[in-house]
Amino acid sequence: MIDYPTLKIIWWLLVGVLLVGFAIMDGHDMGVGTLLPFVGQGDEERRVVINTVGPHWDGNQVWFITGGGAIFAAWPLVYATAFSGFYWAMLAVLWALFFRPVGFDYRSKIHDPRWRSTWDWGLFIGGAVPPLIFGVAFGNLLQGVPFGFNDFLVSTYTGSFWQLLNPFALLVGVVSSAMITMQGGTYLAHRTEGVIQQRAVRGAVGAAVVMVLAFIAAGLWLAYGDIQGFVITSALDPAAMPDPLAKTVERSADGWWVNYDKQPLIWLLPALGISGALAAAALTAARRTLSAFVASSLAVVGVIGTAGASMFPFIMPSSTMPNASLTVWDSVSSPLTLGLMLGATLIFMPLIVFYTSWAYRVMRGKVTVAQIRANEHTAY
C-alpha cells in the first residue's frame, strides 16, 4: 500500500502526464485545425489537411475528457473551483470544441463551397481557441485568482472573465497557442507532401520561434516583473486529510523561483522547452518530419513541466484569500480513491497507448489529393 503523501505526489505527476498527453495528442490535431485555413488552399487541399487527423481526432480528444475526469476524481476541489470560477472561459472552450465533431464529420457531406468554408473556420475555432484559453488560464494561475471558501468549503469566485485577459496571461496564451501550432505544423509536415507540406513547414518553424520568444519573455517577466509567487508559511503535514483552510500562505517576490533554488535540476525543464522547440524548427526545415514531431512533443513536456514545477505544490493559488489556495496536499481525494484511480490508470494507459499506436500505424503514410479523389464518398 502506498502512503498518502506519495499518492498525492503521484497524482500531481499523473495529472501532469494527462495534460502533456492532451497537449501532444489532441494538441497536434488542434494545431492542424489552427493551420487549416492557411495551409490548405482550395477544397481539395483542405480535405487533405483534415484527413491527416480525420481517423484520429476523436480518440485524441479523449485525452482532454479523461484529463477532466481525472481532475474531477483526484482533485475534486480544483475541478469544482476552477471550472466554476473560470465559467465563461470554460464555456468558450466548450463551445469552440462544439465545432470539431460536426466540423470533421459534416463538412464534406455537402458539396457547397460556402458550407465547407464555414466548417473550415469552425475547425479553426475549435483548434485555436482552446489552447489560447488554457494558456491564459495558466497565466492567471501564476498570478493567483480571486476565490475563497467559507467554513463548509463553498467556493466563491469574485473575478470576471475580462479580468482574465491581462497582459501577462495573454503572453502565456501566446506561448500555449504557438506551442500547439508548432505541434500541429510538425505533424502536418509529416503527413503531407508538396505545396501543403511546404506551408506546414513554414507554419511549424514560425510557431516554434514565436513560442521560444514568448516563453523566454514570460520567464523574464516572472523574474523581473511585478508578479509575485506564493509560499506556504505554516508547518504542513503531507499525510493529513485534505483541508485547504488549515495552512497559511503568503505572497513573495521569489515565490515561483524557490523550487529552482532547492532543486536546480528543474532548470532542465525550461531548457527542454526551448531546445525542443528550436530542434523541432530545424528538423522540420530539414524535412526530418518524424524527428521534428518528437522534438516538438518534448518541447511540450518541457513547457508544461516548467509551469507545474515552478508552482509546486500550488495548483490554484488564491489572490484574495491566499490561505485558501489549492495545493497538491490539500485539494485531493481520499487515499482509497487515489489508489484506486492509480490502479485503473496503470492498467488502461498502456492499453490505450498500444491501440492508439496501432491505429496510427494502420493509417500511416502521406495523405494526398489523389487519395481524396479516390475516396470521395468516405473521406472527410
Partner: protein, 524 residues
C-alpha cells in the same frame, strides 16, 4: 442564501443539455450492435450487400455519433461549471467512474470509430470486424460507468461523510460498482438504446420497401432490425427498471410518487392504471385499480408492503428534526475540529445530516427553523406526483406499443412477406420518434423522481450549485439553446438527406439514386 432562481436555472440548463445529449446516445448504443451483426454476416458469407449495409447504416450512425460527442463534453464540463459544490462534496466517489469511463470506454470507442470509417481498405475483413466490435464494446462500457455514477446518486452506497474534509468519501468501491440500482439502470438503459437503434433501421427500411427501392438491401435491414428490436424490447420490459425500485429509499419514494400511492396499502398493493391526481389534497379523486399487481411488480412478493407517500413524509419529518442537530454540530466542528462534545453529537446524528441540510433552502441557521419551515422541507422530500405518474405511464404504454410492432415485424420477416403488408410498413415508419419519446420520459422519471436531492438523502439539489450570478446562467442557457438548435437542424437535415438518398450515397454503383450509372443489382 442561494437564490432559488439560480438553482432553477442551473437545473433547467442541466436538464436541457442532458436530455438533448440523450437524443443521440440511445441510437448510438443500439445501432453499433446492429453494425456488428451486419458486418459479421458479411465476414461469414462474403456477400457484399452486408458490407454495404454496414457502411450505409454506419454513415447515419456517424452523423448521430458526432452530435453525441459534441453534447457529451458539455455534461462532463457542467458538473464543474454549474454544480461546483456537488463536485467537491461527492467528487471522491462520483469522479472515479467518470475517469474510469474515459480510460476504459471513451478511448476505446473513439479510437476505433476512426478506424471503422477509414480502415475499410487498410484492414483485413476480420480485423475490421474486430474494430467494429471494440467500438461497440467501448460504447456500451461508457454507458455502464456513467450509469454506475448515476446509480450512486439514486442509492449512495459504499461511502460516508467526513467532517474534516467536509465531503463524502468512498469506503467501498465494489459496493459502488455493484450497486443494484446501477446494474438495473444499466440493463434497462442500454436495452432501451438497442430498441432505439432497431426502430431507426426498421422505420427507414420500411420506407424504402414502401417506395419499392433497394428492396434486397431494405429487406435484409428490416429483418435484422425486427429480430434485434424484438429481443431488445423484451429485455426492456422484462428486465424493466422496476426491478430496482425496492432498493434504497430514493427508489421507494420514487415508486410511491410514480404510482400515486398516497397511503400505505395492505400487501399486496393494487396497481393504479390511471387516476385523477389531486396534488393539493394529497389524494386521487378517482382511480382505476388492478388488485395485487403493484405489490407483485414492486416487491416480487405478496406479503411485503409498499410505503405510501404520507408514511414516507412522516418518517422524513423526524429525520429533518434530527438533522438539525447534525447540522448544528457540524457547524461547531468546522470551527473547532477537536470539540469532543460536538463530535459525539454529530456522529450520533450524522445519518440525518442531509435531511437537516434540506432546511438551508429556507433558513441560514437551521436552529431558527420554524415548524412551518420543517413542514415545507418535509413536503419537499417527495417530488410532485402528477408529472411522474403520467410520464411513467406513457413510457410503459409506448414500450408495449413497440413490443407489438416488433412482434408483428418479426413474424412478417419469418414469412418473408413484409412487403405484402404495407400497413405494417407504414406503421413502422410512423413509430420512428417513439423510442426517443420513451427514452426521454424514462430519463425524466429517473431524475425528476430523485428531487429534492442530487444525492439521495445526502446532498440537496439547492446546495449543489455553483455560486454564479443569475445573469451568467441566463447567458449560458441562451448560448446552449442557440448552439443546440442550430446543430439539431443541421443534423436532422443531413440525416434525412442521406436516409432519402439511401445506400446509393455510398457511390458503389450497386444502388438506386446515385450518380453512377450501369448499376449492377446488389443481390445477384
Amino acid at each position: 442564501m442561494i437564490s432559488e432562481q439560480l438553482v432553477d436555472l442551473s437545473r433547467l440548463q442541466f436538464a436541457a443539455t442532458a436530455m438533448y445529449h440523450f437524443l443521440f446516445v440511445p441510437l448510438t448504443l443500439g445501432m453499433v450492435w446492429m453494425l456488428v451483426i451486419m458486418e459479421s454476416v458479411y465476414v461469414m458469407t462474403g456477400n457484399v450487400i452486408w458490407k454495404d449495409m454496414t457502411r450505409f447504416w454506419g454513415k447515419l450512425f456517424g452523423i448521430n455519433f458526432a452530435l453525441g460527442v459534441t453534447t457529451g463534453i458539455t455534461l462532463e464540463f457542467q458538473f464543474g461549471t454549474n454544480w461546483a459544490y456537488y463536485s467537491h462534496y461527492v467528487g471522491d466517489i462520483f469522479g472515479a467512474p467518470l475517469a474510469i469511463e474515459g480510460l476504459m470506454a471513451f478511448f476505446l470507442e473513439s479510437t476505433f470509430i476512426g478506424l471503422f470509417f477509414f480502415g475499410w481498405d487498410r484492414l483485413s475483413k476480420t480485423q475490421h470486424l474486430m474494430v467494429t466490435t471494440l467500438m461497440a464494446v467501448g460504447t456500451n462500457l461508457s454507458a455502464l460507468w456513467i450509469l454506475i455514477a448515476n446509480g450512486w446518486m439514486q442509492n449512495p452506497v459504499g461511502a460516508e461523510f467526513s467532517y474534516q474534509t467536509m465531503r463524502m468519501e468512498m469506503t467501498d468501491f465494489w459496493a459502488v460498482v455493484f450497486n443494484p440500482d446501477a446494474q438495473a439502470k444499466f440493463v434497462h438503459t442500454v436495452s432501451a438504446g438497442y430498441v432505439t437503434g432497431a426502430m431507426f433501421v426498421l422505420s427507414i427500411s420500411s420506407w424504402y420497401l414502401l417506395k419499392g427501392r433497394d428492396i434486397e438491401f431494405a429487406k435484409r435491414s428490416f429483418r435484422v432490425a425486427a429480430a434485434f428490436g424484438l429481443a431488445s424490447v423484451l429485455s426492456v420490459i422484462v428486465l424493466g427498471d422496476e426491478s430496482g425500485y425496492t432498493v434504497g429509499e430514493a427508489q421507494q419514494t420514487k415508486m410511491a410518487a410514480i404510482e400515486a400511492m398516497w397511503e400505505t396499502e395492505p400487501a399486496p398493493a393494487s396497481f393504479t392504471v390511471i387516476a385523477g391526481i389531486n396534488e393539493s389534497a394529497q389524494k386521487n379523486d378517482w382511480a382505476v385499480h388492478v388488485p395485487w399487481v403493484m405489490g407483485l411488480i414492486g416487491t416480487r412478493s405478496i406479503s411485503k408492503e409498499i410505503h405510501g407517500i404520507a408514511e414516507i413524509k412522516a418518517r422524513n419529518r423526524e429525520r429533518i428534526v434530527n438533522g438539525i442537530v447534525a447540522v448544528t454540530a457540524l457547524e461547531t466542528l468546522r470551527q473547532h475540529r477537536d470539540d469532543p462534545v460536538a463530535r459525539q453529537v454529530f456522529e450520533a446524528h450524522m445519518a440525518d445530516l442531509g435531511f437537516g441540510l434540506l432546511l438551508k433552502k429556507y433558513v441560514v441557521d437551521v436552529r431558527q427553523a420554524t415548524p412551518e419551515m420543517i413542514d415545507r422541507a418535509m413536503h419537499d422530500t417527495v417530488p410532485r406526483v402528477a408529472p411522474l405518474f403520467w410520464s411513467f405511464r406513457i413510457m410503459v404504454g409506448l414500450g408495449f406499443l413497440m413490443l407489438a410492432l416488433f412482434t408483428l415485424a418479426f413474424w412478417s420477416t419469418l414469412k418473408t412477406n413484409c412487403r405484402q403488408r404495407p400497413w405494417l410498413l407504414r406503421w413502422a415508419l410512423l413509430m420512428l420518434p417513439v423510442p426517443w419519446i420513451a427514452s426521454e420520459l424514462g430519463w425524466f422519471v429517473a431524475e425528476y423522481g430523485r428531487q429534492p436531492w442530487t444525492i439521495y438523502g445526502v446532498l440537496p439539489t439547492h446546495l449543489s450549485v455553483s455560486t454564479l450570478s443569475v445573469n451568467s446562467l441566463y447567458g449560458s442557457l441562451a448560448g446552449f439553446v442557440g448552439f443546440y438548435t442550430v446543430l439539431l437542424i443541421v443534423e436532422i437535415y443531413l440525416m434525412q438527406k442521406f436516409a432519402r438518398q439511401g445506400p446509393g450515397s455510398l457511390g458503389t454503383g450497386r444502388y438506386q439514386h446515385e450518380a453512377v450509372h450501369h448499376a449492377a443489382p446488389a443481390h445477384a
